[in-house]
Symmetry: C2
């Protein structure tokens, strides 16, 4: 049977850009896209962007989940209001680059005419910004027992489990050993996410648990396990600062490699066992199932291969950016790290490139072949920031690992970190909301109701 | 095998009150209980109180879920901090009134030594405040397809489904009829909950949907179905005002009786069908499974029978209050309505009664038999309030249905309604938070991210 379809644009209509994904790259692109020149159809299983740097602090109630989620229809209001622009809550199953069509399936078929509900969307230009997935390194038990930390629902699961474990540990009849295991929070991965989460958790324990779960406050512990060095991309002095601060906050730093994950303990490669009640997995990311399934040339590391203009060379009118894309080997460029900063810069660049393309009437399908594209994309690292818990952060303003430059730590950095993020949050509503969340936590303490 | 147990209090220890439930009654009692005289063990599957009058406005994002939930350990901080007072996240399975013990099961056995995890708690005094359940009148299909509106997770489910239906209706290939059904929101029950929710939903449609889901704004409709009169306990003039206001807001008011609920439509007793995409069931409440299972004399209507001092006469040291309790026929008193106001007054009264009891050394088990209890409980209705949507509310200050008295409608009432609730919310944190939520919504509009 014929699939329902959003057909190709007509001669009098604006060219349609189909964007797959609502992460940093996709949203920054949509924000900058000139909606007088283009219509946009955004397709994603998630209707909002996640402000990932602040995600860790939602796990313990410092911030509310809603403060770190920005609906894509607020980022690009044309998706909500313009007659020919849409947001579809769906996943992309595949792409037909010759026919210029994407095949999609809605996230839920509840109440729809068929189950599953699939449809096709024709594009003039396609922008793939489908992101990446956490790497499990094929270690047994990770997907079943660990919680990742990339989505709001992960943070919610973490918060729920943490509060549940705290309350369950109060029940009569539990041995010391059982309480300690239940309240042992283990974090795998010493990058910014793992460090930020450990720091927040440690704050939470020192301030809130002491007060609100005083019967069990002596049992709860945090351990951070990292295979190499924590915050390996940061300046060595900052790394030392972070290590000291975390240790002083009560976080146990362990260098180790996870071999297997069981329901109540982890096995390390040195043979030791680590019992846990809550396990958070925040190692690196890699190509998603969707990206692996695409029949397109890949970069080193398996991402969708792109040239210096973020085009997929073998598929006309197709572009890719963010965590899912990487420079092809023949460009001579290194694949960029999977960072929010990189994705954002690429999104901004691509929106400007699209303006240049349509200015020369290249927006419609098959019309951009001979159009001069101007400057390729160049990434300049503006510096790295990470929080190590309340009131302390690191700001590393060196352009690369070996460069000299400014690196700060401490309370001032924390202020900078907070302000930088406040200005990056994409709507005034959320900027206000985040500021209020922080103020509320400062004055009243974190929220502890076990809901959502 | 022996169950884990929190054993009876010793001669030198304070008497222990076990409280079942964290609703209006249980929490108001705990708030007023003199913790210098008593230790308290609160047992409930829910660690927070739900501020039910504001629950309806969380469904559409006017308020955040967290604003209407108050952790019981903030209401009574001794549960968090005092050495012999506890909160157990568990359900009560049964009571042995002779042995003065309750039998409990934790809400989750994840990580605990046995599955399920059960334990016993000995009490000097027992306060049953276990609430009530929504009435389905044994109508087929209600539990499977409708969503109730009494808990935060209900409101979350409603918000999720509403946003999901809005987004799904945007997909290509749906007929007009399918879109209309998907976006038809039906509310069953014309009491304050149903009216408030219909009002909020109607606001949401007129303001937010118009802007953020403009492609489908003409398809979304709200219908409120009530068997008798909406807001039947209110003054007839106010009822008329509510009816007019709802109708002007676009809510379709239907008098009808639901006969059966199918996955995509409701059958009414007059033979007509009502297709729906979202179905909210907010009729009255009745005795829960737990209350039905208790081998204690019942009031008319099946609630736990109590005397004028809220004691369960046949079980020494046992009290009951709130939605789960009702005056025994022999008292000559009417069973009070299942209202938050009633539960709150009873909770306050009982806390004072407990102070009187222990002042005369009657706190420990078996010690209160001959103690004069003083004045019985008397309920004075302070008036009813209901919101009919943004900026409009009803305030009915008559003491009973036939009395004369003040009744107001309109914007001023809305201000009173809002202030009254602001002062009733039990912590400064949440008062602040609720005020900020309202201000944020006022300035920036409702939140639309489909999370939680």
């Amino acid at each position: 049977t014929q699939l329902p379809r959003l057909g190709p644009t007509g001669p009098g209509e604006k060219p349609r850009v189909v964007v797959l994904g609502t992460g940093w790259a996709g949203c920054r692109f949509l924000k900058g896209l000139d909606m007088k020149m283009y219509d946009a159809v955004c397709i994603s299983p998630r209707n909002h962007m996640v402000f990932t740097p602040l995600l860790a602090s939602t796990c313990v109630g410092t911030l509310e989940f809603r403060s770190v989620a920005e609906p894509v229809s607020r980022i690009q209001s044309a998706l909500a209001g313009a007659p020919n622009s849409y947001f579809y809550l769906a996943s992309c199953l595949g792409i037909n680059t010759d026919k210029h069509e994407v095949y999609c399936e809605t996230v839920s078929s509840d109440g729809l005419p068929s189950d599953p509900y699939r449809f096709k969307v024709a594009y003039d230009k396609l922008v793939i910004a489908a992101g990446a997935e956490p790497l499990t390194f094929n270690i047994k038990g990770v997907t079943e027992h660990a919680i990742f930390l990339r989505e709001v629902y992960h943070a919610q699961e973490i918060r729920r489990k943490l509060l549940l474990n705290l309350m369950l540990s109060e029940n009569p009849g539990l041995s010391e050993e059982e309480k300690k295991r239940l309240l042992h929070c283990v974090v795998i991965g010493g990058g910014p996410t793992g460090v930020e989460f450990s720091g927040e958790l440690s704050d939470f324990i020192m301030r809130d648990v002491r007060q609100r779960y005083s019967h069990v406050k002596d049992y709860i512990k945090v351990t951070l396990i990292e295979a190499n060095e924590i915050l390996s991309s940061f300046d060595v002095g900052l790394r030392q600062y972070a290590t000291n601060h975390l240790t002083k906050s009560g976080v146990r730093l362990v260098r180790g490699v996870v071999k297997e994950v069981l329901p109540e303990k982890i096995l390390l490669s040195d043979g030791s066992h680590v019992p846990y009640g809550l396990l958070v997995w925040s190692t690196g990311v890699g190509p998603s199932q969707f990206v692996k399934s695409l029949d397109l040339p890949k970069s080193p590391g398996g991402r969708i291969g792109v040239d210096e203009w973020l085009r997929v060379p073998s598929a006309e009118d197709v572009f890719a950016l963010g965590d899912c894309a990487g420079f092809l080997e023949q460009t001579g460029r290194q694949v960029l790290p999977a960072l929010a900063q990189v994705a954002e810069r690429e999104g901004k660049y691509l929106a400007e490139l699209f303006r240049r393309i349509e200015k020369q009437n290249g927006g419609k399908a098959h019309c951009a072949k001979d159009i001069p594209l101007g400057d390729p994309f160049v990434y300049r690292h503006l510096g790295s920031m990470a929080s190590v818990g309340r009131y302390k952060a690191l700001v590393d303003l060196r352009q690369s690992k070996d460069a000299k430059g400014l690196s700060l730590a401490g309370f001032v950095s924390w202020l900078i970190w907070r302000s930088a993020y406040l200005t990056r949050v994409v709507s005034w509503r959320n900027r206000f909301y985040v500021a209020v969340n922080w103020a509320t936590t400062l004055v009243f303490g974190r929220d502890n109701s076990r809901i959502g």
